[in-house]
């Protein structure tokens, strides 16, 4: 029994180490001074430095790219929730012909690689003067996030009993008001979690962002195209900057994670 218990915790430890080690090491590498990094006998640095992070942000334009990434993500979330939330609501609360066909085609759009869309989108954007613009990337990212938002909001709403809304309507509220005052507040935590997840989807997307922009690059696109020609320690600093928001996100949405993923691709 004792041996079994030790073995069990050993496996748990191994799993945790397997997933944590690369994260720990990129943080370590990002904070290691250059001469310590290139010294093969120094695994742990003699002191930590914020130099690489500072230079990446202020000399290599990482700051501008970070701002653009945030702008793109926020615009995409705003549009995809404005467009997708009503659709998600309709998918759960109404019965109408063609519903299954619509659900299936929305699901299928999630499987179309963005790579396929990037090139023709660029041609369209040139015509509408959207090439190399924040809005252009945001609109493309919306196309990626919107199907997810429709499917996820639909499942969030289906978890909230329709009877609350009906009760409110008995008391004289319109359906819209019942939705705003009753269903929406109940759905809010789930919606917030999926908004954060949408943020991460946009924050991480690199292919479309690199194809559609040249000077207004998002952070990952900027790193893929510029920082890769810089010394190693800048790459690690870049990796750290990209990893931090992601980890914070996972921490705050842990509760919703499994249910969110379990239902997002039925």
């Amino acid at each position: 029994m004792m041996v079994k218990k030790i073995l069990f915790w050993f496996v748990v430890f191994l799993v945790a180490a397997w997933f944590l080690t690369p994260v720990v090491f990129i943080f370590l590498a990002a904070l290691t001074p250059a001469q310590d990094y290139y010294n093969p006998h120094k695994i742990f640095p003699s002191h930590f430095t914020l130099d690489h992070l500072y230079k990446l942000f202020f000399v290599l334009d990482g700051w501008k790219a970070t701002i653009i990434s945030i702008e793109v993500a926020l615009i995409s979330i705003a549009i995809s929730f404005a467009v997708g939330l009503p659709a998600g609501y309709a998918m759960t609360r109404y019965k109408f012909p063609g519903k299954n066909a619509i659900r299936l085609s929305i699901l299928l759009t999630r499987s179309i690689p963005l790579i396929v869309l990037a090139v023709p989108l660029m041609v369209i954007y040139m015509r509408f003067n959207l090439a190399d613009s924040v809005m252009g990337v945001a609109l493309a990212h919306t196309a990626m996030i919107l199907p997810f938002v429709v499917l996820i909001t639909s499942s969030i709403f289906s978890g909230i009993s329709v009877e609350y809304e009906e009760a409110a309507m008995v008391f004289g509220l319109t359906r819209f008001k019942a939705f705003i005052r009753i269903t929406l507040p109940l759905a809010l935590p789930g919606l917030a979690a999926s908004a954060i997840f949408s943020f991460i989807m946009s924050w991480n997307e690199v292919f479309v962002a690199s194809v559609l922009t040249l000077s207004n690059r998002t952070l990952p696109a900027h790193i893929l195209n510029t920082a890769m020609t810089s010394p190693d320690y800048f790459k690690f600093a870049a990796g750290m900057i990209m990893a931090v928001p992601a980890m914070i996100f996972i921490f705050f949405t842990k509760k919703y994670l499994v249910s969110m993923w379990g239902i997002s691709l039925k």
Binding site: T21, P22, A29, I102, V119, V258
Partner: protein, 283 residues
């Protein structure tokens, strides 16, 4: 049409229009662009099929998918079974395992680079332990095989959690009574796993497999960051043709191949899933 139906359609219409414009139309014009050759309709594809790089890219994409997807599935099932025992502190492990979920492929590649680069931590550890005197090179044109395995390892590290959460969600929805009944009949642990848990997990396994296989054919960031074009892959070539060679036609042709593979895989899985539904009648 009744009023409710009209309202429903009005609520859904913006989504349909948006997706039609931003996904449907580009998809259609990719098709058109790839098919309109210089002289004849299929010129671009003929050039593509005569290009050795295309076959290499197809080969490597298939090989990577062939290695990554099965390993991920097995690891994810094992992990989900471990976490689902709900031992003390399992939620901390859940947090740790799901960290890579939120990391981009570019970030994951950078992390892997800190470990495997010539001055990376693996080399440093081995050198300090006196096991090697010079760094082992994992990257570069000379070491394609090593690059391949580092890429596979990175992808396994990055995307196993994606499979894991789907499997875990499926595992948690299994009715406990089945397992209690199995206990009464004296099933061993292995019997419970293979006779009850895995068959009931099949829908989750199928959707996890579908998602992972689709994304495996779109693999780009990790490969591009770690190996560049030493290991050509379909999405990488799409990018290269468009960005570096400024050849949107060839890029579209590559994109079409990816779309086509995607479609075939979706069809196979959907077909497989549906027949499963018919057999069981539930779920």
């Amino acid at each position: 049409m009744s009023e409710a139906k009209t309202v429903a359609w009005l609520l859904i219409l913006p989504t349909i229009l948006y997706l039609a414009f931003f996904i449907g139309y580009p998809l259609f014009s990719t098709f058109v662009m790839a098919l309109s050759g210089e002289e004849k309709a299929f010129d671009t594809f003929l050039n593509l099929f005569h290009d050795k790089t295309f076959w290499d890219a197809l080969k490597y994409t298939l090989m990577l998918a062939g290695v990554i997807v099965p390993v991920q599935l097995v690891l994810a099932i094992a992990l989900a079974l471990l976490v689902n025992t709900k031992f003390k502190g399992y939620s901390t492990l859940l947090y740790i395992v799901t960290i890579p979920l939120a990391l981009s492929d570019v970030t994951a590649a950078l992390m892997s680079y800190t470990m495997f680069s010539p001055m990376g931590y693996i080399n440093k550890f081995l050198m300090n332990l006196g096991l090697i005197s010079r760094p082992i090179y994992f990257f570069g044109f000379m070491y394609k095989t090593r690059e391949f395995w580092v890429i596979a390892l990175t992808e396994i590290w990055r995307a196993t959690p994606l499979v894991f959460v789907i499997i875990l969600a499926g595992l948690q929805s299994i009715n406990k009574e089945y397992l209690e009944a199995a206990d009464i009949f004296g099933f061993t642990k292995a019997q419970k796993l293979f006779k009850i848990i895995l068959p009931l997990l099949k829908p989750s396994i199928m959707s996890a497999l579908l998602m992972r296989t689709l994304f495996a054919f779109q693999i780009f960031g990790v490969v591009w960051m770690l190996a560049g074009r030493d290991i050509p892959v379909l999405a990488g070539e799409t990018y290269y043709q468009y960005i570096n060679l400024n050849n949107p036609k060839m890029a579209s042709a590559y994109a079409m191949i990816i779309a086509l593979i995607t479609l075939i895989i979706s069809y196979i899985y959907l077909f497989g899933l549906r027949s499963k539904h018919l057999e069981e009648g539930v779920r």
